[in-house]
Every structure is written in C-alpha cells, then in structure tokens.
Amino acid sequence: MTGIGVHAVFGFLSAFTGAFDFILHQRDSELGSVQVGGPHEVLSFVWEHVKVSAAAMAVACAVAVPAGLVLGHTGRGELLAISISNVGRAVPSLALIAFFVAYLGVGFTNVVLALVLLAIPPILTNTYVGVRQVDPEVIDASRGMGLRAAQVITRVELPLAVNNIFGGIRTSAVNVVATATIAPLAGVLTLGDFILSANVYGDDGRLAGAILVALLALTVEGLFALLQRAVTPRGLRAHTG
C-alpha cells in the first residue's frame, strides 16, 4: 500500500520535473530532427496565445458592449440578450473552431473570428443586465437634469453597469484563453501545440503545455478581477463582495 503510494508520488514528481526541464531547456524533438522546448519557444507560444486571445477580446468588446448598452437602454431585445448567452454556452468550443476551419479554412483571422463568437454572449448579456438593473429613478433624475439619451448611457448607465460589464469580459477572457488552447488545430501555434502535438514535444512537453495554459488562465482571471475592481466606482464596490 505505502509502496504504491510512494511510487505514485515519485512518478508524479518526476513527471513535473520533466515538464519544468522542458520549459527551461531546449531539447531534441521526439523525432529528433528539430530542437523543441526552452524559454524561447515557450515565450513565442505564450505570445501567440495572448495575441490571438487579445485580438478576439478586443473585437468582441467593441461589438458586444455598445450593443448591450443600447439594448439595455431601450429595453428592447430582452429575449435576444438573455437567450444568446444560453445558446452560446451550449455551443461546444471544439465544434465552433472545427466549423470555422472546415468552412473558412485555417489561420489567425479565422481563429479570432471563432473566438469572437465565443466571447460575445457573456459580455452582451452582462452589459444588458447591468444596464437594466440601474435604478429607473436615477435615470429619471438624470433626464430631469437635461441629459440627452447618449449622455444618459455614457454618464449614468455605463458607470453604474461597469461592474457587470467587466464581470462579463472576465468570463469571456478566461473562456477565450482556454479555447485558444485548441487553436493549433486551426494552424495557429499557441501553447496548445505542446499539448496537442505530443508526437513532437513528448510527454514532458505535453505536461509543460498543460501547466503553462493553467497558469495563463489563472493569471488572466486574476488580472481581470483586479481590473474589474479598479474600474468599479468606489461607491459601488461594497456590492461586489
């Protein structure tokens, strides 16, 4: 019993030691023809991972935040705003990426487009909900002060909904970073390549990829949590918990 336990712990430790060695030092690939691993390759994959994720998030925010603000302000499209996130959740990210590759082909732009579709629903729904839950009396008051519709959106509804909006952005960002892991299937070499091409990088590379992807997702989640806190007006922070 203890023998098995010790064996498992030892196997576990040696697997992780191998993975960290892969990250820190270049080595021959499994086929022996090229050099893989090491800080240089790791950083280039991290950079590609961040680039494809950031591009998708930028486009998704540019589309979903204004759309959510306008829908929320007018109170129209409630069914659309709510059901889009339900449907969005059910669409398998693997199927989405595969669909884009099958119909549009591989490449950076197509992966970004697929990730944009994945990122829009949480941002749109959260923005909509954030605007709708602004106290109607506050909006009445701002109208009474002579603010025009556009000013009501930008000066009253947006600041009061900003906590929700960033909650949605944070959810999407973590989703996008996770899904960018399968981007190598579409020809974009993110950190997922270490995981998906084990025949090149070996078991150490695959575990290294898993560790790096996990760390990247946690980092993004942490950064966006801080950002969400920073942009929320001080008076509203008590509600965020």
């Binding site: 196997g11 398998p92 595969a98 992807v213 996990a214």
Partner: protein, 241 residues
C-alpha cells in the same frame, strides 16, 4: 429462374448510394450521409451522455455537501468560492493533462476534470438559493417548532430549488460543450467525431457531431426544467391563482 434474376435486382437496390460518395468527396454538407450513417454517432453520443451525467451528478453531490457546510459555517463561503473558482478557471484541456501522471488516460480523468469545472456554478447557485429564502418563511418554520435540520430540508431547500436547478442547467449545458474535449483525454464522446482523426475539415462530420451536442444540451435543459416543474407544485398554483 429466380436465381438468375437476383443479380440485376440487387444491382437496382445498390443504385441508392448510401455512402453519398460524390457529396462526401467534394466535402460539402451532406445531410443524407448523416441520416444513412447515423449509427456511427450512437456510441460517441452515449459516451458523451455518460460523461456529462457522471460529472454533473458528482459535481452536484460535492457542491451540495460544501453548500450545507458553508450554510452553517458562513466564514467558509469565501474560501470555498475561492477554491472552486480556481477549479472553474483552469481550462479543462489543461486539467486533463495535469491529471495524466496521476490518473492516466481515460474516462476517470475526464470526469474528474469536468466535475471540478461544475463545482463553482452549482455551489454558487445553491448558496444564492439559500440566501434568497425569505426571512418570514424561516421565521414561520421556527415558529412551527421545526428544528434546524427540518427547517433546512422542509423550508429552505424547497424554496431554493429554482436557483439550484438554474445552477444545474448552466453546469450541464456548459459540460456538454466541454465534454467534446474529452476525446483528448482518451475518453471518447462526440469530440471524437468532430476531430475525426485530427481532421477537423470534414464539414458533414463537424456539423453532425456539433449539432448532436447542441441537441443534447437542449434535451438536458428541458429535462431539468421538467424536474423543476414537478418538484415545485406550489409555484404552479401561485401562477394559476
């Protein structure tokens, strides 16, 4: 005489091209192929159903136990949200391979990763449901002489049911999507028909397997809504009145 005719008659039957070779070779979307080859999806679909059900049921049991503890010991809510939050943030694909040195390839690894993902969603919703129980209802229960335990099972949990079911709906819908990645952990599922031997450019297969995943998510959602309808008869009466 009859034997002499069997050849041509068989030939006439063969005219119907069950492989839809022309359509498939041009890699178009071939609905006829999906209909005629539907049996190839039954096994992956069943694997998928198993993965989702096992993960959500396990996730519910663990989250429910955590919630009951946190309901009594409020100071545990924060740490539990933090811990399940980390598990929620870790990308499933990464978790599959982080677990690989410990649990190896296969269904167990996939179920552990997917279960870990569902915990936060279900835990959060159970806590929300319990927190939303009107204080009057709790007071009335105490006034009737219910013990803490009776109060929980007869008053608080029934009233929290809509929130709990809402959590299960979100968790199961997202797990259906994530379970397509289980193929990378060697656990099969519909993902095996999406990547079809790391070839994700087979349009008909991507649409068929992705569509089945969407339908499965929808079906589980409908079943859960039905469960909620059956378990909360008082809500029906209230709506009719």
């Amino acid at each position: 005489m009859l034997g002499a005719w069997s050849g041509p008659v068989l030939g006439a039957v063969e005219i119907r091209d069950r492989s839809h070779a022309t359509c498939i070779s041009q890699n178009k979307l071939c609905p006829g192929w999906i209909v005629d080859n539907f049996d190839r999806y039954t096994h992956p679909l069943m694997e998928h159903v198993h993965l989702v059900l096992e993960s959500v049921v396990l996730g519910f049991l663990i989250a429910f136990a955590l919630a009951l503890v946190a309901h009594r010991q409020r100071w545990l809510v924060g740490p539990m949200l933090g811990l399940t939050g980390v598990l929620y943030t870790l990308p499933s694909l990464a978790v599959f391979f982080l677990l690989l040195p410990i649990t190896g390839r296969g269904t167990t690894t996939a179920v552990i990763a997917l279960t870990a993902y569902t915990l936060q969603i279900i835990f959060r919703n159970i806590m929300t449901g319990l927190d939303n129980v009107p204080a009057e209802a709790r007071d009335a229960g105490q006034g009737m002489g219910l013990t803490e335990r009776q109060l929980l099972w007869r008053v608080e949990l029934p009233l929290a049911l809509p929130d709990i079911i809402a959590g299960l709906r979100i968790a199961s819908t997202s797990t259906v999507g994530l379970a397509t990645l289980a193929v990378f952990a060697g656990a099969g599922g519909l993902g095996s028909e999406i990547i079809a031997g790391s070839n994700i450019t087979f349009k008909t297969g991507v649409v068929a397997a992705g569509g089945l995943a969407l339908l499965l998510a929808l079906a589980i959602d409908v079943v859960l809504l039905l469960v909620q309808w059956l378990l909360t008869p008082w809500r029906r009466r209230a709506r009719l009145a």
